[in-house]
Structure formats: structure tokens, C-alpha cells
Amino acid sequence: MIRLPLVIGGLIVLALVAMAASAGWIFPDDPMTMVAEPLLWPGQDPAFPLGTDSLGRDIAAGIFHGARASLAIGFISSSAALALGTLVGAVAGYRGGRVDDGLMRISELFQAIPQFMLIIVLLVIFRPSVATIILAISIVGWPAIARLVRAEFIVLREREFVQSCRVIGMSGPAIMLTQILPNALPVLIVSGTIQVATAILMEAALSFLGLGDPNLLTWGGMIGMGRDQLREAWFVVAVPGLALLITALGLNLLGDGLNDLLDPRGRRA
């Protein structure tokens, strides 16, 4: 059976990865170079199909090169957050008791500082760069995932199939890994794909506040720098914004598709 969302989502994500990979070939020059008149509209000059920004840089080149940094920020930070969050959440939810208490209080320690503020403070301490932005986004991302995973585990560990595994003497880690985790996967996948998009958007918001990395081109940075032209040259924001939207859409479809594929219970009878 062909699953359309999975295919479309997969294709979009593949295309993005291809874009990021091929940026150096298609646009070999430094995408930050000022190459033309500033604020050329898309289509006005065939050499710059997506127009130029306020400094006269090629937006198309920016989209391709920006895909690299933006995807890296999205994927690396969410993988880190997802890995840590799942580990903590699973152990806490399954073991319960003191372990749960301890882990949850630690996660609360991170959660208790308002997320966006924590990111801003971390970026002020370490000065904004791609590395510090990724670090900051993962640090604030994991407790939420831990809580979600824990919630799933608390419910699932009481189910009959888990109880019966325990009765036949399966070890804790084995039950968690083979029995509970697959059942918790749907929520995990959905929040994982959302996390990637969130991270990319978060970077855009930081750029809007002037906390982006000025030495690297990202979609968020392009959107942030274009806010001056929001009214008069809206394409400067709209083009990278659209790239972001398509990315989020692709990730979401991919998440949904994988969800359907991996979770036979979720399918309606």
C-alpha cells in the first residue's frame, strides 16, 4: 500500500538535504558576497531568480547555503534533545519512585527557567554562534520530551502486555526498549519532527531579536535581516519563510507517515 504523506514528506526532506549538499556546486561563491543591486525583485533579473536582499546578495544562493545551517541546527539540536529526553523520560516513567522523582526534579530545574530566557541568557554568556545556538536549543528542548515520554511510559507500564512480560521475567531495559518504546514511538516521532521545525523557527526568532550568528547564513538569519523590508520588499522575508514552511510541512508529513507505518494499532479498523 502506497502511503502518500510518507512519500511526499520523504521527498521534501530528501530535496532539502540535496539542496544543502549541492549548495557548494550550484552556488560556488560565498553567498554573503554582495553581487548585484540591492532589493532586486524575484524575476526582475534572470541571474537572480529569487531576487536580492538589502545588501545586494543573491537570495537563491542564500536559500541553498542557508539550508545547510538551518537543517543542521534543526536536526542536531533535536537529536540531542530527543536522545536525552527519551532516556530520562523512559527511565523515570518506567522505574517510578525515587528515580522518577530525582530525574523529574532535575528536568524541572531546567524547565523552571523560562525557555526563551534561558536561551537568551546562554547566548549572552557564550555569544551567538551556530554551535552555541544548537547547544542552547537542545538544553531547553529535552525536558519537554522527557516529560512526554515519561507520561507515555507511566500509562504503558500498567498495560497487560507489559505486565505479562514482567511475569515471564523480561529485564527492565528489555521491556522498555522492545515493549514500551515502540508503543511510545508515535508521540515521540510527532514531537521529534515538531522539535526540528521548532528549532529552525527558534533560530529565526533569535535572529529577529538580533541574536543570530552573523557569520553564517541561515534561513532564520535571512528572515531576521529582512524584517526592515517587511512592508516595502516583502519577498526578502517571504522567500526564506516559504522555505521554512515547506520544511515544516515536509517534516510533519514524514512524521505522520512514519507514525502510521510504525504504529499498526493507530490505524483505524
Binding site: 523529574m104 523552571a112 527557567i113 525557555q115 530566557m117 549572552v124 529577529f208 522575508v237 504504529d263 479498523a269
Partner: protein
Amino acid sequence: MTPRARRIARFLARRLAQGVALLLCIAVLDFALLHAVPGDAADAIAGEAGTADPGYVATLRHQLGLDQPLPVQLGLYLGRLAQGNFGYSFRYGQSVASLILERLPATLLLMAASIGFAVAASLVLGTLSARFANRWPDRLITLVTLFFYATPLFWFGLMAIVLFGVHLGWLPTGGMYDVARPRTGLAFALDVARHLVLPAFTQACFFLAIYTRLVRTSMLQAYGSDYVRFARAKGVGELRIALRHVLRNALTPLVTMVGLNLGTLLGGAVLTETVFSWPGIGRLMYDAVFQRDVNLLLSILVLGSVIVIVANLLVDMLYAALTPAVELR
């Protein structure tokens, strides 16, 4: 006392004790974090002034107590906190408590309106999505909520201002109320409501997509579960299944997520507050970071932590209520 009530009381007592200990850790962590930031309030004020001789900076630093050793500053801060005294804002030259009280209602109103709207809308949209899974209503809902989600909040907000405030003239472009009008009675409430529409909707868009996805996913899961099949086999009506079994099950992740968002209550709206000139606490906190207004910042952070701890406690209790199998321990 029934055994259940006793259990709940024990649970609450323990969590409360933990909460206080946690709060102390957070207060110290916050303090350390903020003092790891380069530069202090004297630098910020002198920097704003455009110029200052070293004598001025030294006077300022002494005046603000920033020339004392860090452990002394930490001790003074914890001592003040224990008495419930938030201290004095370096920048505004006014008590921190009064500053916070002045700005808190705006943020609470904005967050309550936006989260409330997002929860209500996501339950409807998520249920529809799940009911028509993988058919066009589902696809449409996904696309629309995703569009709202993936559009940068500041862009969406600014465009909404230009459209509704400038071109259509239906709604005010910013602020919380009309300064020129009397601030009493129904007229004032309506005025605030008019000002609230755009920022609340903009802020809600951010939550809406996530909530809707969560509701959809967990409802699909619930529909596929054995007990729904069993209920169906027993001949329970669809509506009853949806409300009694499915929705209830689907609420768990939603409650978690809302709980998490309550935690970001104070700082989460900084972009919305910036774009809509909403006089909330997010912007106050944001500005305080860049002004190194440590007293103000620490107080808001600690207050935020109290909210998170309480929110988490409530979420855990709600779990127990929603899922009978889970007990408070």
C-alpha cells in the same frame, strides 16, 4: 480521612518540601547563571549613557552593591528572598515587586486567552482530524495549523497589524488599552478585549499546531485501542466513546504540553509582547537581561520557577484524575 485523601495529603506534603528545596537550587543556579554573564548593570547604564568617566562607573557600581564579593551578594540575595523581599531594580530605581505587579496582569491575560483559545480550538480540530484521518478535512486542518505554526510569529503578528490595524482599521495596532479613555467598567473591558484579539490569536497560533497534532495522534491511538473496540462491541454509542474513552485518553499528552507551556508563561510571550507593544512581563525580563538588572531578573526567574513547580504538580494530579490506573505516589 479516607486512605485516598491521606495519600493525596502525603503526596502534597512531599512535593511541597521538594518544591522548596528545588526552588533554593534554582535560585542559586539562576544567580550563578546571571553572574556568568559578562558585564554588569554599571556597564549597561554607562553604555547607555554613551560615555562615562571611570569615577562615575565606580560610583554606580558601589551604589548598586556590585563591588561586593559574589558570596556576599549571594547571601544578601538569598536572605532577602527568604523574607519575600525582591529588592530594588538597578535600572528603574524602584522596587522589583511593584515592577512585576505592574506588568504581570498583562502577561497572565495574554497567556490565559491564547492558551485557552488554543486548547479549545485544538480539541475541536484534533478530534475532526482524527475522525477523518487521512481524508481531506484532516489534510486541510493539518495544512492550516502547520501554516500558522511555521510562519514566524513576528511576521504573522506584524502582517496582522498592518492588515487589521492600518488597512481595515478594525483593531488597534498595539498596546493594551486606549490611554485617553477612562479605565473603568464594561467599556474598559471591551477596550482591553479589542486590544487583546490580535496578540492572543498570534500567540495561540504558536500553540495551536502542536496541540492539534497531539490531540489527533493520541485520539487515533485511542480509537485503535482494545478497550475502544471492546466498547464498540458492547454497543456503546460513538459519541460516548469519543467523549468518555477517547478524548479522556487523548488529554494526557495535551495536559502535559499545556503544563509545559504554563511553565514558559512569563517569558514565552516576549516576541508577541514586542510586536504588539503589550506591556507584559516577557519584555520586562528580556530588557532586564540586556540591562543586567540582576535583581529584577532573578525575581522574575524565581517567580517563573514557582509557577513551573506548581504547574507540574497540577499536571501530575490531573494525570491521576484522567487515568485511574495511575496513582499519586
